[in-house]
Each structure stands twice: as structure tokens, then as C-alpha cells.
Symmetry: C2
DNA sequence: TCTGTTGCCGAAACCGGTTTCGGATCTTCT
DNA sequence: AGAAGATCCGAAACCGGTTTCGGCAACAGA
């Protein structure tokens, strides 16, 4: 007995489910005929089609999707592998994302097969398992990298997929993405419009496509406003509060510090609040902050975080629709869609209350007084 | 052509997947023999079993789970229907819950089929759809009610399930639950130990089993400490910040107000912070707060919320293990498990700084001064 | 009237597995 | 040596659907 033997399960109540043969028999038709009637084949007369349809409803018949799948090769399920590591920012809006996917899937009478993984390697393993057993007909790939091994794997195995994000080589890829670079650009312009002239930026983590795009957005924002490109104003990558705090502190203790900070991610911005506090600065007054993600928790901070909000439910819906179309054979080039984030102005940004020089003096005084204690 | 016709999908690349027949042919065996070898039947010699196993690995064979399901009746998938309504508190720890389920499912080579619904009625509809197409072999039912229609439905259809929670009639039910009533009881005792003598309680919403249990926990906590049962100290049910604020405000503006509040849910406690602020009270000093859920966001508040933390990953793992055993035929009575929440002492509770009478004076003075403005 | 079409359905193969049944070999015992 | 078991595997049925193929009947056209 190998371990496989133990995997087998006994059939429980074996309750009597209405099969297509039952239905056919009670109608006096061949089961093939019933199948074609239910699936809308043109060689079935309208009258029998209706007769079958009504009988099916009356008898409560619904086909087993896996029985259909054995012949059609389609299990009517979209796959999603989530990475649940700490620095993973999509946890907060996970519920609405899943709701969007599930909603769109239900609409087409599909379902969602979900799995989680703890690392990039694990993700590939899990993906391999799901593909191997054909648990899903295609996959939504969240948080894509510029060079993404998942894409290579799925391409090689001819498994349909759609990216939530973009990637370096668009060949064969369908996607839906939020143009966060546009949002970051807008953030810079908003701050410029309020009078800020030194605007710092805390990027995301290397590798993620969105990180590079947001950095581009920052640069193009500066260019649009006629501000010089000052490399020292670009902090270290951060996607969580700890890293965000470190990055913000580094920027705010520069000799010529920024009076406003733009964060790539809300969770990093949360750390920015801590950094400001420890430097004796009040966000929204002494230093402006604009961020990206639109997390609800940002509203609980004081002042509430100004941020670009993303409609994750809608993202889930669109991704699912695109994926199903992709599975049905449409070309990936025709399945690409971009959307915009929406600015939620709350209390963390405003006009600069001091010049960079004054800010620097404030900070160094505060640091000195802390040093004495 | 009915709408059903459009649902059919074309088979794409039709890539050549290794079937059990391929494997059998290349081994010179009958496919039935190969199947029995892989599934550990005792009538296969050890030598052929190994030969088959190695060949399967070499050729990269993995059975289609839906092809197996057609004969065995088991699709190797656990089902979960989440309700994503606003007042739904489990959104924040959803990721770890799902990770737990997925992890335990993978361990047994099962997968997770997830769906969402927007209301109780919708939940039943979605559940019906999944059961109808046999998308899962059994279900995890989160957030159970004392009288839960989902339970009736699944029982009637002989579909295995396991509760995350408890219910009025335990007949035929397997479950895993956190004894939150014990936690609430402990919360009362902790506050009593610090010197509080009037301790208010904000329950959850009617219907949920956990709400009633936590209320019981509150009462038994009072009894254990020898405190009288004062009905006016029990606020209105609240599971979100808005309702929590209203409930807390009502309690704190009593003639003889509590100096400490116990909340059934963190999200309600968040509203308690707002209520305290608007009444000019500082949580942790003027009024103590202890809550339940262990949300990470509570740590971002100032002072950080003292709360009972629940290991949702572990809950997911145990629920899945219990469900799979249930599906394999074990009796529900043998599949019941309770666990405890863990107290996370942070900054929102402490010794009372004033008597209820002084507190009442403070509050009424604050209200008057607000009235004048 | 005879021949094509066309419309409609039955019969059977098929999908990729699992499970039952029976039979051939190989031991073991008398 | 012959009979009785035990061991191991092949053949075929089966699960619940889908799809192909062919034939019958009705109808149209010549």
C-alpha cells in the first residue's frame, strides 16, 4: 500500500442525483439528444428543446461540471494563486478582489479555484500542481514581475492566463492593470500645485512591474512640473510600514529635505507617519504625504491619508471576464485593458508651511534634543 | 440557439497530456492495472507497483481530478462561500484564513473552491449552485448562526460540512470554534483586577452564535468577579465602527457610566475610539477598552488596542482537516474541536483614573462646552 | 412520380479515469 | 502427481456527460 491508497475516500450516502440518462428516459429521448437540446445545438427542434428544458427544471437536473469536463476539456473554473507573505500589500483589499472574481465567474456559471503560496518558488510549485490536475482552465496572475517565471511556465504549458499588471515581454500576454504611473504623476503635480518644490518619492520593491512604472510616473511628474530630477529624493524601496519608516526618515533627515513625500504604497506610508512623529513633524502641516492604494485603514490615521484608491472589485470582475474570453480562444492582443486610480483627498497633504531649509533646521533641532535625553 | 450554446468553449491548443492509457501502453500493462497500482490496491505486486510509479514520474503523469471524480464521486475540493457584506468582520484576517485552508488542502492534495455572496439569500443561492454542479465535496461554513439555513440545506442534500462556529442544534454537525466566551470572561476579570467596578459591554449582532456566547461570557465574567448584572451596561449590538461609536457613546453618557468597555469585535472598538474622542476622553487613561479579534489595524491606533487575538491560519488548517475527514465518512460527533484566543495586552486598558461619578461629571461638562460652541 | 434536400433524432463512440470479475500462473499440501 | 489456494494481471463494464454519424420522414422541385 502506497500513500496513495490512503488518499482514496469512501463514497458516503450515494444519494440519487438526477442524471442526464434519467432525464432522457423520462422524456423518451436518447441522452445524446437531451444533451444537444440543453446545449443549444441547431439540429434540435424548438419544441423538443423546450420540452427538455422544462423537464430538466422540473426534475432539478444540473450537469456535473467535471463530467462535462472529461469530454470538453473545460472544467469551468478560473484559478488564482495568492502569495501570502508579509510584505504582500494586497491583503487588505483581498475580500473585494475575490468578490469581483467570484461575481464575474458566477455570472458565466464558472467558479474560482484558489490556492495560496508562501514564496515565489512555492507559487510555482502550487501552480504546477493545479495545472497538473487541471483544477482550473486558466489563471489570473496578480502582482506581476517584469520577468515573471509564472508567465514562462504557463506559456510553456499552453495554459491561458491574464495578468493583473504588466510585464517586460508582452508577447502572448493578456492583462488588466491600473495605470498607477499616471496616479503618481498626478500626485507630484498636485503637490507642485500646492507650492511644494522638493518632492520625495518612496518606490516599491524591485522586480515588480508596478514599482518601475510608478518610479517612471514620479520622474515624468517632476518633468511635467519643470522640477529637476534629484536622485537623492528617491528613497529606498518599501512596501510595508517598517521599510516605509526607514525610507521616510532617511529622506526627511537629508540636508535639503523634501517638504512632501509620495509613497508607492499605503502600507509604506503608514511607516511614514511613524517616521514623522519620531522627528517631531506633523503630517499634513509640516510635511505632506500622498500615497497609493486606497486602503481603508488610511482613513483611521490622523490626519487621514490622502491616497489614490483602486477599485479592486472591478479589477476582479474585468480580469475574470478577460480570462474567460482568453480561454475561449480570443487572442491575447485583444484582451488588454487599463484603468485609472481615483484620488481620495484626505488630510495628509496641503501647502508647505516651511521651506526645505526651515524643515531641515526643525528636524536637526529635534534630533539634538532627543540626543540629550 | 439558447444562451447555453454560447457558453460552450472551443478547445484551444489541445496539447498532448499524458493519459493513463499512454502510461499503460508504454509499460505493456492494462490501464486498469496501472490505475490499481497507482492507487495502492493489494492485488498488484510490489515490483510492478514500483515500475508503474517510476514510469508515471518519468512521463510526468498526473491524473485529471475531474476524470477520477466521475467514477469516485469525489472531486477533491473543499468549498467555501464568503459573505462580503460591509458589516462582515472577517475581511481583515481573510488572507491568513485562506492560507490555512489552502495549506491543509494542498497537504492532502485537495484544492479550494471559493465563492462569495452579498447576502444571506445570495449565500444560499451560491451554495445551491456549487452543490448542484458538485464543485466541492463539502463545505466550510464560516460565521454560523444559531439557526442557520445553510446547515439545513446541506443536511437535506447530504452534503458534508463543518462549522466555523457552533449552532443551536448540534445534531449531525462537525465544528471548530474559538471559545470567545472564555476570552470575554477573561477580559472582564482582567478589568476587575485593575480596579474597574462598572464594566460595559458592546455585544455583536443578534443571530450569530458567537454574539450570544460572548454575551454569556460577559455575564459569567461579572458573576465570577462578584459584580452585579446591570442591564444598562449592555450596549447595542455592533460589528463595525459606526455602530460601535454609537453604542460606546450611549454607554459613556449614562448617568452612572462604565469606566471600562469590553467590545465583542475590534471593528466596533475602533468606533469606540471615535466616541471617546468626541466626549473628550482618552482611551487607556480615562476609559479602558478591551476587545476581541486581534486585528493588526488595532496596533496602529493610539493607544494600541488591547484585544484577544485569534489564529485564523490555524483555524483554516483545522477546519479543512476536519472537513476532509468528514467527507471520508467519519462521524460528525467525533469531529468537534475548540480552541482559545490569546490576549494581546497593548495600551488601551489600565487602572481606572476616576470613579464612574467623576467620569460622568467630566463627560457632561464636555458635552455642555460643546453645546455652547 | 421520382429524386434531392432538409429537419430531426437515435445509436454508438468517446473522454480518462476506476472497479469488478475471471482466468492464468505459481505455490503448497496431501 | 494432482488438487486447492494464493497471487497477479487482463478484459471489460462503468461513471455521466458530449459529439459524430447516419438514417428516417417530410417536404420541395422537376
Amino acid at each position: 500500500m502506497t500513500d496513495l491508497a490512503q488518499r482514496r475516500v469512501t463514497i458516503p450516502g450515494r444519494r440519487q442525483r438526477v442524471t442526464i440518462s434519467d432525464l432522457a428516459e423520462s422524456l423518451g429521448l436518447a441522452k445524446g439528444t437531451v444533451s444537444r437540446a440543453l446545449n443549444g445545438y441547431p439540429d434540435i427542434s424548438e419544441s423538443t428543446r423546450l420540452r427538455v428544458k422544462h423537464a430538466a427544471e422540473a426534475m432539478g437536473y444540473s450537469p456535473l461540471s467535471h463530467a462535462q469536463a472529461i469530454r470538453t476539456g473545460v472544467v469551468r473554473s478560473v484559478g488564482l494563486v495568492l502569495q501570502t507573505t508579509e510584505h504582500d500589500g494586497h491583503r487588505p483589499f483581498l475580500a473585494s478582489f475575490l468578490a469581483g472574481i467570484s461575481e464575474a465567474a458566477s455570472e458565466a456559471d464558472w467558479s474560482l479555484t484558489l490556492a495560496t503560496a508562501s514564496s515565489n518558488e512555492d507559487t510555482e510549485r502550487v501552480l504546477g500542481r493545479l495545472v497538473g490536475a487541471h483544477k482550473a482552465d486558466g489563471f489570473i496572475l496578480p502582482r506581476t514581475y517584469m520577468d515573471d517565471p509564472r508567465i514562462d511556465f504557463l506559456k510553456k504549458n499552453h495554459v491561458p492566463f491574464v495578468l493583473f499588471g504588466r510585464t517586460r515581454d508582452p508577447e502572448g500576454c493578456a492583462w488588466y492593470d491600473i495605470e498607477s504611473e499616471v496616479a503618481i504623476e498626478e500626485a507630484v503635480c498636485i503637490l507642485y500645485g500646492l507650492g511644494h518644490r522638493r518632492i520625495g518619492f518612496v518606490p516599491g520593491r524591485d522586480g515588480y512591474t508596478f514599482s518601475e512604472l510608478r518610479l517612471e510616473g514620479y520622474r515624468s511628474g517632476l518633468a511635467m512640473c519643470g522640477l529637476p530630477d534629484a536622485p537623492e529624493l528617491i528613497g529606498q524601496g518599501a512596501l510595508n510600514p517598517e521599510a516605509g519608516e526607514a525610507a521616510a526618515r532617511e529622506l526627511l533627515t537629508l540636508e535639503n529635505p523634501p517638504t512632501a513625500l509620495v509613497f508607492s504604497a499605503d502600507r509604506a506610508a503608514f511607516g511614514g507617519y511613524t517616521a514623522a512623529e519620531t522627528l517631531g513633524l506633523k503630517i499634513g502641516r509640516d510635511v505632506s504625504v500622498v500615497s497609493y492604494d486606497g486602503l481603508l485603514e488610511g482613513g483611521m490615521l490622523s490626519p487621514a491619508l490622502s491616497t489614490f484608491s483602486v477599485d479592486m472589485r472591478q479589477a476582479g470582475v474585468r480580469l475574470t471576464e478577460l480570462l474567460i474570453r482568453r480561454i475561449r480562444g480570443e487572442a491575447p492582443e485583444d484582451l488588454r485593458e487599463l484603468a485609472q486610480a481615483r484620488f481620495v483627498a484626505r488630510g495628509s497633504h496641503g501647502q508647505p508651511s516651511m521651506s526645505p531649509a526651515e524643515l531641515a533646521r526643525r528636524v536637526s533641532k529635534e534630533l539634538k534634543s532627543q540626543g540629550r535625553n
